[in-house]
Each structure stands twice: as C-alpha cells, then as structure tokens.
Subunit: 348 residues, 2 copies
DNA sequence: TTGAAAGCGCTAACAC
DNA sequence: GTGTTAGCGCTTTCAA
C-alpha cells in the first residue's frame, strides 16, 4: 500500500493545524469559510481519503454489520442481502456476509467471526440444523444487537421480520383442497413435506397445513406429514419416489419450500404421474426455479425486497438507540397459483 | 459497545508493560515462558480480543479484500464467492462482497466503495453492460491488485482465472452438429444467442461457435447469430418467440448462458415444438435450473469451486508479493449432455 | 527478557 | 476561528 495523504499532509501544505483540517472536513460550524474552502480544495487536489480505521478507532466504532444466512445458492437470500447492503451502505456501514450451508456449527463460527470483527450488529436467518439460542443470547448480552429475518428464533427477545407462515400455509393448503374438490375429489388426501423441527417457521407452516385440514374435515393422519432430512430438491425427489414405490401418492402435496416441491414434482413426472391432473403440488417461498418447471410451480411469494429493507432498518434503529424495544414485523405475502396445483392454469 | 479488555488491562492486571503483553500474544521469541503463559491465561480469562482496527492502523494494513460480481441471484457467483471467503478467512482477511446487477455504473460505484474501504485487493468478474477498463487501470496504478475471474478484461495486465471459452463453445456446437446429423439432418441450421459484446468471453464463445460451423462446412449466415440485449430467461424467451413467429426455428441452438437457453426452451415448449426432437438446445455455465427443466438442459460445466479458490490464491499471491508477475490460469471444463440436446438421453 | 516511548491517522476537549 | 494536547489500542524500535 502506497502512502495516502492524511490530514497532517493537508495541514502542512496549508500551514494550519490538523484539527482545523479535521473540523473543516467534518463540516464543523466553527471554521471560517475561506479556511474550509482551502482545505476542501487541497483535499480534493491531493486526492485525500479519510482513513476509516483511524476514524473508527478514535470513535471506538467499526461501522460494520454482519449478515448470517443459512445458504445463498438459491436467489432467496441474495435478494434480501442486496437490500440490506443498500440500506447500510447509504449509512456508511460496511456489510460482512457469511453463509453456513444450513450447519449449526458453521453458523456459530460465522457469528464468532463477526464478533471478532467487532460488528455493531447482526442480521440473521437461522440454520436448519441445530440451534444457537444460547449463543444468540450471549451476543445480545454483550451488547451486540441481533435482528432476525425470515427464519426467526422465537425464544429470543429481539427484533424480527417475517411473514405469517401459519396463515399462508393455511391458505396454501386450502387452495389445494379447493382445487381437488373442484376436480370432484370430495375427500382429497393432502400430504405435507415438513421442514426441520428447529426452524420455528417450519412448525408454523405445519400447523397452518394441519389446521386447514381440520377446518375442512379432512384426515390429519400423521402418516400424511413427512419430516424431511434436508430441504433440497434431492430430498423432495427421494421422498416422493418412496411414496410412489409404496403406492401412497397423495392427491395434493404442500411442501415446506420450493426445492422440496420441485424434487417431488420431478419424481412424479418421471413416473408418469400427471401433475396437476392426478396430484396438485405447492411450494413455499417462490424460488427462481418456480417458473422454470413444467408445469410452473405454485408457491407462496414473500416480499423479499421489503424484508431486507425492513430488517436493515430495524437493526439500524437498534444500533442508534440500543435501549429501543425490539419489534416484530410481520409482512404481507401472496399466493401464486400456477399450473402445478391447478389444471385450469397454463402449464407453461 | 461496551469496553473490551485491551492489552493495557492485561498489563495492569499482571503488573507488566503492555509491550510485553503485545509480544507474548504475538508469539514473539523474546518472552520468557512464564510471562507468556501468564499473559495467555489472563487474556483468556478476561476474554481479551485484539482490536483489529488498532492493529491494522499501526501496521497500516486493512486485511480486507473486495469482490465485485455482476449479479448473485444465480448460484453461479455465490458458489465462487464461498470458496473465496474460505481462502481469505483462513488467512485472517475480511471479504467485502458487492454486486452490480450487470450495470457498468454500479460496478464503478462498487469499486470506489471498495477503494474507500482501503481493500488490499479486488477480485472481479466484469459486468455485461459497459466496461471500466480505465478505472481498472487506475486502481492497478494505485497499487491495488486486481484479479479477474470468469469474465475477464483481456486488455488489462492482471492475473485471471477462467476456462477456455472458445474451446468449450466449439465442442458444444460440434455436439449439436453431431446430434442433428445423427438424427439424419446432414446440414443442420445451428443458431447462436450471443452475449454482450463487452464481455470478452462472449466473443470467445461466439468464435468457438462460428469456427465449429466452418469446420463442419455449415452455413455461418450472420442471421444465425442473434445478439442479446440481456442475458436473462425473459430475453431468451423473447428472442425464440420471435423466431417462432417468423418461422425461423433452427435445428440447434447454442446459447451464451443457461438463462437464455431456458427461456428459449420454454418458448419452444409453449409453442409445442419438440425439444430435442425438433430442436437441440445447449446452454453454458450449468446453472441451478439446468436440472429443473424438462428436458434437462445440456450445458458446459465449469469448476466453480476451483475457480474461486484459484482466484483467491492468485490475489493472495499478488498481495504478498506485489512485484510478482500476473498469471492467467485456464481451468478445465466439461460438456454435460442431457435431454435438451440429445434425444438419446433421459428427458427427466 | 522487559520497559519506555513514539507513532499509525484521526477526533475532541480545552485553551486562547 | 484556530491551535494544542491527549488519547483510541496496538506494534515496534531503542535502551536497559
């Protein structure tokens, strides 16, 4: 690294003190107009850049926040992250992004990494495997604010942004029921591929599903709910292949996420089972691929951009006023009905 | 932020000087075994963490590098980024990630942002729209090393990692020719959806395509190559719809990337055109969705993990030895033939 | 083997 | 308005 000009250099050049330079640059009131102008011109001509480390050291701040997501290979989290970055960069913060591949240990390592980097706050969506509740609390106790988004940890007293997973799962399941009944099946058998138990929202989604069945007087046989090992396409494919093998193909399938749904649909198509004619399939969270499958996948769309922005603002709020009360924001969502669940829709 | 313990605190506690503490912690040789032990124990019990800003300020380093990618909604760049992070975190660096949504101006802003953050080096894959060559050179001149990956700027003298886009496009095109000939079409009409002209590799891909046609004595009518406006699914869909409308559906289609290919395939399927029976389609870069379409999409697979690791190491090399010569690394790739191009393959 | 002192670049009292 | 001084937490001569 070459030597960058410092306020000292500017001061020497102008034969004034560095405090004056500092003040002029910081836009302090008590600087004469001429001095300020001179300093600004000199700074520009020397291509001066403030050294943020020195500045932050004196102010004992880092102006850095961290983001922890379970994965970022699907477009879901990247779309949120982009918004987070937008908000924080505007405020002069740096954003450190980490992903943990759904692993509990990696999540912990990431949190530690961010802590070591002295971030002023952390935005997190919890991993599918395992739970770091104790560590979240430790961070909170150390004065590092946490804001949860999408996948929250409800046992923690911290701000969060999410949608009403219960409600939308209820609606999604009802949609499947209505559709199958519309096709003449009065008592459709609707199954659920249920996400990991240690994601709070996966339980909410399950309850939404189950309650919809109850409301419509349908069987809630536990065998209709399959707990998934992973939340990937491969897992969806595997589970549905099993069902096909044991002749237990349902009339409707509501999946924890799109990946599972896409995998399941693929297994069905491969076996020549008609989707949606024979089985209606619904995903959740509207992935990139929902519009790539044939038929296109019905899913619950979340306002990701808003979620990112809101999460960022909640964290900013907490950083600026550490004593502010945590807030739980619930965003709206929507049901995107496509060909995978409803024969009346375009298949492509 | 609460007050973290500093070496001063440790020193006071142990009644020794902070220089000794610093040395003990840094693993300097000239510290007695007992002192070192005492310091380490005390540091552990006080939960001491070095303040990286102070450390970096004294050493006038930032231990931060930046990454600039054109987008990260497709899994392509995230997969590379994960590897970059792995390499650099192991070396104690922070990684700042930025994306520019293919925009030239946003890319420039990102570079500036990274520069303001005093990164010690930048890993970049250039945006589709516009080119910041002059700015790259400015950064290089300022002593900030740049390493290009995937999408390089060949006019810049800097290290880079990529695959041989010409060669693999040539192979991909040959595959289409062989397949169509195998189906009895001696003189197949192979089209190309060509990527943005200001991405160097998009020209390489075009040349590979064109040369394959020449080799096999096929028409290289310019009308067979369509310059795309974007490199998205929508654009692929739009272009193919036009071709269908004007009755100009080709026998084979080689696309700049998977997104275009998927969009094109969708337009074909929507119009009831048989893929691959009537048209063989090939993408490039093996996206997440390649295995979601029906038929599955043939594509050129790149070693993304290796690309990320290699790019990271090249940058590290350059940071540690600024005078080292730039190196251009070409990685191997492979042709993944699936149902979209070859009727002999599984469609699902 | 250890300590004292200077300094990295910047900000913020406190004087004048 | 402006300069002086001290200090953020750490490393690194230079002495002892």
């Amino acid at each position: 690294m070459r030597h960058n000009p410092t306020i000292k250099d500017i001061a020497r050049e102008l034969c004034i003190s560095k405090s004056t330079v500092s003040r002029a640059l910081a836009g302090h009131p008590n600087v004469s107009r001429e001095t300020r102008k001179a300093v600004q011109d000199m700074a520009a001509s020397m291509r001066y850049k403030p050294n943020y480390m020195a500045r932050n050291l004196t102010k004992s701040r880092t102006k850095t926040i961290g983001v922890v997501v379970p994965e970022f290979l699907n477009s879901f989290f990247p779309r949120i992250i982009i918004q987070i970055q937008n908000v924080f960069e505007k405020e002069g913060y740096r954003v450190l992004i980490t992903q943990c591949d759904e692993s509990w240990e990696a999540e912990r390592r990431n949190l530690k990494l961010l802590e070591d980097n002295m971030v002023e706050g952390i935005l997190i969506s919890v991993a599918a495997k395992g739970r770091n509740t104790a560590y979240y609390e430790e961070l909170l106790a150390k004065g590092i604010p946490l804001v949860f988004f999408n996948r929250t940890d409800n046992s923690i007293k911290a701000s969060s942004v999410s949608i009403d997973d219960y409600k939308w799962s209820f609606f999604a399941t009802e949609h499947l029921i209505y559709t199958r009944r519309g096709l003449g099946q009065d008592v459709p058998r609707i199954m659920h591929f249920r996400g990991p138990l240690n994601i709070d929202l996966s339980n909410a989604r399950y309850r939404g599903y189950a309650d919809a069945l109850v409301k419509h007087h349908l069987s809630t046989d536990p065998a209709q709910t399959v707990l998934t090992r992973d939340i990937t396409r491969d897992e969806g494919y595997r589970l549905m292949s099993q069902l096909i093998g044991s002749n237990a193909v349902p009339d409707g399938l509501f999946c924890f996420n799109d990946q599972l749904a896409i995998g399941a649909m693929r297994a069905l198509l491969k076996s020549g089972v008609d989707v949606p004619g024979r089985v209606s399939v619904m995903g959740f969270s509207e992935s990139q691929s929902a519009l790539v499958t044939v038929p296109a996948l019905s899913s619950v769309a979340q306002p990701l951009e808003e979620m990112g922005k809101t999460a960022a603002r909640l964290l900013l709020e907490k950083i600026e006023d550490p004593d502010s009360e945590p807030r739980k924001v619930i965003l709206n969502a929507s049901l995107n009905i496509r060909g995978s669940s409803d024969p009346a829709r375009d298949m492509i």
